[in-house]
């Protein structure tokens, strides 16, 4: 018994080593490979390992990366393949738990990522206030801070759901969302400092990127209680792609309004009607009218394993995915393997936080027959994630943004997983 076990291990080890050597050679062959990059060795017990490094890197065996894509229907790729590449999607099919590594956090920007020296960056708060103030980044970091783990989702995430189903990955369909621990100063702390006038009902937030992105934020109780001016992400400074050195964070609200590279907040009595909240982030309905200021991301869920373009074998699989709601906590996730005829409750992995990705899991044994995998969630307001049919009945197919219908993956007899309809 012992021998058999050892032999099995040895065989695995050998197979493993072969691939190790192959990929090791590939790394060395790359001209850009850094001299200190750790080289895999055949037996790590017979050679001293590398010494501590000032800034850690993932194992050279880990190759997950963001997926570059320019817009609805545009080709994916990087650099010359996508010259107007302004978004990138998180590889959610490869991630564990709920937190997105900062280096894999999705991106969406509207004229590149600015290079900002935090020592020169300022935040101006003015408009309908008693005392217009200018803060340095260091001053903001001295104010009472708050941290919160919450999701951030582009309202255009899953925009392909409005169209006919394409054979794509879950990263392609659902990659424009991530979860981080966000740290900063609460907006309410700053508004108290400037003294908001009675007639102020809206706030313009403006970024210092080349798009000068500006959005109007309603000063609702929810916003006043929860909005943050963030400088931290997952324990370190914000990544440049996430707004370094300052961003607005509005838990549960569509990504675009979480203005990055924040330089100015202006209090006003009415919305400012910027291009982003009129021409762009509005949802066209079948009758030609459009929803406006649809800020909250409604409850949504997706199975990340098994998911689009993956290949599975008959036998045991743990179905796993993410559920989230901009209105609060996810209270229930159910999974179907027969296209919605029967549903089973999935286990929610702790912590289950409001306005945060929640990991769900369900053990499953695939018998090799065609299966249709779906997940649906309910949030603490009682809202149930809709079917695509119900969603399209109300909104039509020209909305572009805020698609949140139940996702279906077909597992074909050969084990290939395909997007049935987004």
């Amino acid at each position: 018994m012992n021998d058999g076990f050892e032999n099995m291990n040895r065989r695995r080890f050998l197979t493993h080593s072969a691939s190790v050597i192959a990929s090791g050679a590939a790394i060395v062959a790359l001209p850009a490979a850094r001299a200190e990059e750790p080289k895999p060795v055949e037996d790590p017990m017979r050679l001293p390992g590398i010494l501590p490094r000032p800034y850690g890197e993932r194992s050279p065996f880990e190759k997950q990366q963001r997926l570059g894509g320019a817009g609805p229907g545009a080709p994916h790729g990087w650099g010359a393949n996508a010259p107007n590449n302004f978004n990138s999607g998180t590889p959610i099919q490869d991630l564990h738990g709920i937190v997105t590594p900062s280096a894999l956090h999705f991106e969406r920007h509207h004229n590149g990522v600015p290079a900002i020296n935090p020592a020169h960056h300022r935040l101006l708060i003015h408009g309908l206030v008693e005392r217009p103030l200018i803060f340095t980044v260091k001053e903001l970091q001295r104010l009472p801070s708050a941290s919160r783990i919450a999701f951030l989702e582009c309202s255009g995430n899953t925009w392909d759901g409005w169209r006919d189903a394409q054979d794509v990955t879950v990263q392609d369909l659902y990659g424009l969302m991530s979860t981080s621990e966000w740290t900063g100063v609460k907006l309410s702390t700053l508004l108290e400092a400037v003294g908001v006038r009675r007639e102020a009902k809206w706030m313009l937030a403006e970024g210092s990127d080349a798009a000068g992105l500006d959005r109007s934020v309603p000063l609702t109780e929810e916003v006043l209680n929860e909005a943050m001016i963030c400088y931290g992400q997952n324990g370190e400074a914000l990544r440049p792609e996430q707004g370094y050195p300052l961003r607005l964070f509005l838990p549960g609200f569509e990504g675009n309004i979480n203005v990055k590279w924040l330089r100015r907040l202006k209090l006003g009595s009415a919305p400012f009607m910027t291009r982003w909240e009129t021409a762009k982030y509005t949802e066209l309905l079948p009758d030609g009218k459009a929803y406006q200021f649809t800020l909250v991301m409604e409850a949504k869920s997706v199975i990340t394993y098994p998911s689009g373009q993956q290949q599975i074998q008959p036998g045991f699989h743990e179905i796993s995915g993410l559920a989230w709601s901009g209105r609060g906590r996810v209270t229930k996730v159910e999974v179907s393997v027969d296209g919605g005829r029967t549903w089973l409750g999935a286990r929610l992995q702790e912590p289950v936080l409001p306005k945060c990705h929640t990991r769900f899991r369900l053990p499953w044994r695939w018998n090799g027959q065609e299966a249709i995998l779906q997940s649906r969630c309910v949030d603490e307001t009682g809202y149930s994630q809709p079917t695509r049919q119900d969603l399209v009945k109300v909104r039509g197919t020209n909305s572009v943004y805020h698609y949140n219908a139940i996702q279906s993956w077909t597992v074909e007899r050969d084990g290939r997983v395909r997007n049935l309809y987004a």
Binding site: I134, L143, S147, K186, G195, A210, N225, K266, R329, D390
Partner: protein, 189 residues
């Protein structure tokens, strides 16, 4: 609020909540004495605010002096905009700016300035801050007003002899001004 309870001291959260509730959203001004409690941040001068205050509201607030005509706008557009938006604003490859009227209820709606944008002032706010794409904030106020005049004329929103400036722009009635409704969700049951 709930989200913070896990990560902050609960008494502190309760204190913040009590403070917010006590003063309410609209009476923040009354707590002005507390504002300087931390002694952080410095007063912004009028000059600093003027330099940063670049947004334009539907009322016209924020529009600078200057003016533009359709004729001048045609030149500005041809030089600075046509390469991305096409010779007449309908060809692309980037956002179509002209046309699209009566397409919003069709399977292929074309959302342009003329067919979709509800406020003409948004044109100033956006073009000044973000266009041309490779040189944002490079257009003068006169150039900006001019290219707006041309775009509105091409979309048959204004007459060819209209002069666009801080007084006339907020008065321009956009065709889709009443095309938007506030968020009614949850709308799917």
């Amino acid at each position: 609020m709930d989200g913070y309870v896990t990560y902050m001291h609960k008494p502190m959260v309760a204190g913040v909540v009590a403070l917010l509730m006590a003063f309410g959203v609209v009476s923040f001004g009354r707590s002005a004495e507390d504002g300087t409690e931390y002694g952080l941040g410095r007063p912004a001068t009028e000059r600093e605010i003027r330099a940063w205050n670049m947004d334009v509201s539907p009322t016209g607030e924020g529009l600078p002096p200057g003016q533009g005509t359709v004729k001048q706008g045609a030149q500005v557009y041809a030089t600075k905009c046509a390469a991305c938006h096409g010779p007449t604003g309908v060809e692309g490859p980037k956002d179509k700016l002209v046309g699209g009227r009566d397409t919003l209820t069709t399977p292929k709606p074309v959302r342009t300035i003329g067919s979709y944008w509800p406020y003409a002032t948004t044109l100033y706010d956006y073009i000044h801050r973000a266009m041309p794409f490779n040189a944002p904030q490079s257009l003068t106020p006169d150039e900006t007003y001019s290219v707006i005049a041309w775009l509105l004329f091409q979309n048959q929103v204004i007459a060819e002899d209209t002069v666009i400036d801080a007084q006339t722009l907020p008065k321009v009635q956009m065709p889709n001004r009443n095309g938007f409704i506030p968020d009614p969700r949850p709308d799917v049951r």
